[in-house]
C-alpha cells in the first residue's frame, strides 16, 4: 500500500510525438508533390477544344497573336528555345511541354516552335486549349 503512494507524480505534459510524425509526413508529401510551374507571362486567348485533357506539365511556352514567344515571363527568340527547354527539362525530367497558342497566332510560328522544342529533347508536346463540352463548341 505504502509503495503505491510512493510512485512519483506524473507531470502534466501533452505528448506531441504523434503530431510531429504527422507534420513530417505532411511536409514530405508537399515537398514531393510541389512542382514549380512557371507561367509564361502573357495573356493568350486559347482556342476551344472538346478533346482537351488535363496535362501534368511544368514547361509552358506561349505564342502571342503577333508571333512572339514567351517563356518564364520573358520574351524569347526561336533560337533560344532548345537551350531553355533543355535546362527546364534538367530540373523536371518528367515534365511535358505545353505550347499555349493564341487563336490568332500564325500556325507557321507554332510548327517551327514545335520543331525547336523537339530539338531541346522534349518527348511529349501538347497544344494548350480551353476545354469545352461537345455541344458548347463554336
Amino acid at each position: 500500500m505504502a509503495r503505491r503512494h510512493a510512485t512519483t507524480e506524473e507531470e502534466a505534459e501533452i505528448n506531441i510525438t504523434p503530431m510531429l510524425d504527422m507534420t513530417f509526413i505532411l511536409l514530405i508529401f508537399f515537398i514531393v508533390t510541389t512542382s514549380f510551374v512557371r507561367p509564361p507571362g502573357v495573356e493568350v486567348n486559347k482556342p476551344p477544344a472538346v478533346t482537351a485533357e488535363s496535362m501534368h506539365s511544368n514547361i509552358l511556352l506561349a505564342v502571342t497573336p503577333s508571333g512572339q514567344i514567351w517563356m518564364n515571363k520573358q520574351k524569347i527568340t526561336l533560337d533560344q528555345v532548345p537551350g531553355l527547354v533543355e535546362s527546364a527539362r534538367a530540373q523536371a525530367p518528367q515534365g511535358n511541354v505545353v505550347i499555349i497558342v493564341d487563336q490568332d497566332a500564325p500556325s507557321g510560328m507554332v510548327v517551327r516552335l514545335m520543331g525547336q522544342v523537339k530539338l531541346g529533347g522534349a518527348t511529349s508536346i501538347a497544344l494548350g486549349a480551353r476545354p469545352v463540352d461537345s455541344n458548347g463548341g463554336s
Binding site: L27, I31, T34, E53, S54, M55, Q103, D104
Partner: protein
C-alpha cells in the same frame, strides 16, 4: 570546496531542445502548402514528325490529310481524292475515312499564315472523329 559544490548541483537532464526545429518544420510546411499548385494546364497532344520517323515510309493512300490554307479554307484528301470542306465537316469526313481504314494516319498540314485557332480546332475535330494520333506538319517552312 569548489569541487564539492559542483557535485552538489542537481544533474541536468540530457534533453535536446526541439522547439527551434519544430518552428522550422512548421514554416517549411506552410511554405510548401502555399506554393503547391494543383492547377494543371489543359491541352491536346500532337505529334510532330521527327527526322527519325521520316525514314518510315507511310503509303500516301493511308494518310488522311487535312490542309489548312492561309485564307482559312480547309482541304481534305484521302486516297487521292481531295475536296474543300467546311470546319464543321471535318469530323464526319475523318470518321468516314477512318471507317474504311482505322489505322490511317491523320496529318494536319498548315500554311504558315493560317490562324493557330483554326489549326487546333481541326486537330480537335479529327480527334473527336476517333483519330488516335494526329500529326502536325507545315506545308512550307
Amino acid at each position: 570546496m569548489a569541487r564539492r559544490r559542483r557535485f552538489e548541483k542537481k544533474p541536468e537532464e540530457a534533453e535536446i531542445n526541439i522547439t527551434p526545429m519544430l518552428d522550422m518544420v512548421f514554416i517549411m510546411l506552410i511554405f510548401f502548402i502555399v506554393s503547391t499548385s494543383f492547377i494543371h494546364e489543359s491541352g491536346i497532344n500532337v505529334t510532330r514528325p521527327s527526322k527519325g520517323s521520316q525514314n518510315k515510309v507511310v503509303k500516301e493512300s493511308k494518310i488522311v490529310l487535312i490542309q489548312i490554307k492561309n485564307d482559312g479554307s480547309i482541304e481534305m484528301s484521302y486516297g487521292g481524292a481531295s475536296r474543300t470542306v467546311e470546319l464543321s465537316a471535318v469530323r464526319p469526313e475523318v470518321e468516314k475515312d477512318l471507317a474504311g481504314n482505322p489505322d490511317a494516319q491523320v496529318v494536319v498540314a498548315v500554311s504558315p499564315g493560317a490562324h493557330a485557332g483554326l489549326m487546333v480546332e481541326a486537330i480537335d475535330r479529327a480527334k473527336q472523329a476517333g483519330a488516335k494520333k494526329v500529326s502536325l506538319a507545315s506545308t512550307q517552312s
